[in-house]
Amino acid sequence: MAKGSVQIVVERCKACGFCVEFCPTHVLALSSAFNAKGYHTPYMVHPEKCSGCDLCGMYCPDFAIFGFKAPETEAKKAPSKPEPKQSAQPGPPASAGFAVAGAEKEEQDAR
């Protein structure tokens, strides 16, 4: 189970490559799909290695990605292959390319 995950606002990304390069655990890669501006956006190629350190977020000049630590309780595992998903961030909707979700936190319903 990954300690953390990332959230990407695909439409903001300009494929500078900082996040991919400087992720300490090499979680990210640029995908072959692209956003409305034609940029190849990152995705989690090794989501299980993500620690949620948010170094990607600190590097991103476009505020298009950030990392967060998964809560101690169940965190839905992020898919290791990209699949089309709506970006959770406010702003323009995800393109016909794809949006990569991070792990979606679920409120633990203590039952």
Partner: protein, 291 residues
């Protein structure tokens, strides 16, 4: 089955951004946005009261920071962010005043104001994003552009000696002087945090790629190549003599905190002198406010 009320976290930088103006105008691989992330981190870690934070920018790519940040923000004239900030701070000392601007704005047209504010030790925090060029206007030579590079106004290569910013600012009187690159995101955030705790003229130089103009015209690759160059060529030398930290086209980049000293800031100096001279006749006010 657990009720899937999904809590989507928010990028910690967004609370400080005017999200209705995002996406911004900065190029792919530009380091200005990266420096803003460090700034946001510093604000959070230092627990800065952002209601009393003001950002003052000049003109240029870095000057656009004022327009994207959600504080009381002032986009002023070219080179004059520092005197505007001085007026704001002196009239309203409870405001935390940060100047966020570029190398050309602060050191060419604004150079005179910078050295005087440092001399006076006005309590303002200056973040200078140094991309070694005048980017917004299309890539002209700046006083920081190193030798033998191509710019639009030195089409045969620069030959002007360049300023060593930390050296200049220290000599002028700054109490805090540091340099990092856009690669050093965490150290930069820490420096910014330290800077908030200082009283007096504080200065951080942030070396940044300008992939569209500086790097591209000089076949130095893109933003990522430049960030890797920073990673490879930077040497952290905290406390290094600032006379020795000048930059060149492809040489070593000395980064670190170079100056951290104590001097009474302008407000204190003014207050003490007037109290000494006028005694009880001195009318001290919290701010110079009108009704």
């Amino acid at each position: 089955m657990a009720d899937a009320s999904v809590v989507i976290p928010q990028n910690p930088v967004e609370q400080f951004l005017r999200m209705d103006r995002i996406p911004h105008i900065w190029c792919p691989g530009c380091g200005i946005g990266t420096s803003v992330n460090s700034f946001a981190r510093a604000l959070v870690d230092a627990k800065i009261d952002t209601k009393h934070l003001a950002i003052v920018s000049g003109i240029g790519c870095s000057g656009r920071v004022a327009g994207y940040t959600k504080f009381d923000s002032f986009h002023t004239t070219h080179g004059r962010a520092i005197p505007f900030a001085t007026g704001l701070k002196l009239a309203n000392p409870k405001m935390n005043v940060v100047v966020y601007s570029g190398d050309g704005d602060l050191f060419a047209i604004g150079g005179n104001h910078l050295i005087h504010a440092a001399r006076r030790n006005v309590d303002i925090k200056v973040i200078c994003v140094n991309n070694l060029i005048y980017a917004m206007t299309g890539g002209q030579t700046a006083p920081t552009t190193p030798g033998a590079v191509m710019t639009s106004t030195n089409p045969y290569g620069t030959f002007d000696p360049a300023f060593n910013l930390p050296y200049l600012v220290e000599a002028a009187g700054a109490v805090y002087v540091a340099r990092w690159t856009a690669f050093h995101v965490r150290q930069l955030a820490r420096s910014m945090e330290e800077m908030f705790a200082k009283k007096g003229f504080s200065f951080i130089e942030v070396l940044s790629p300008c992939p569209t103009l500086y790097q591209r015209r000089n076949k130095m690759g893109d933003g990522l190549d430049t960030m890797k160059f920073y990673k490879q060529n930077s040497k952290v030398r905290n406390g290094a003599p600032t006379s020795e930290v000048g930059l060149s086209k492809s040489g070593e980049i000395v980064v670190g905190k170079f100056v951290d000293r104590e001097r009474n800031d302008y407000g204190v100096l003014m207050h003490d002198r007037l109290v000494e001279a006028l005694g009880d006749d001195y009318v001290e006010t919290e701010a110079c406010s009108c009704q």
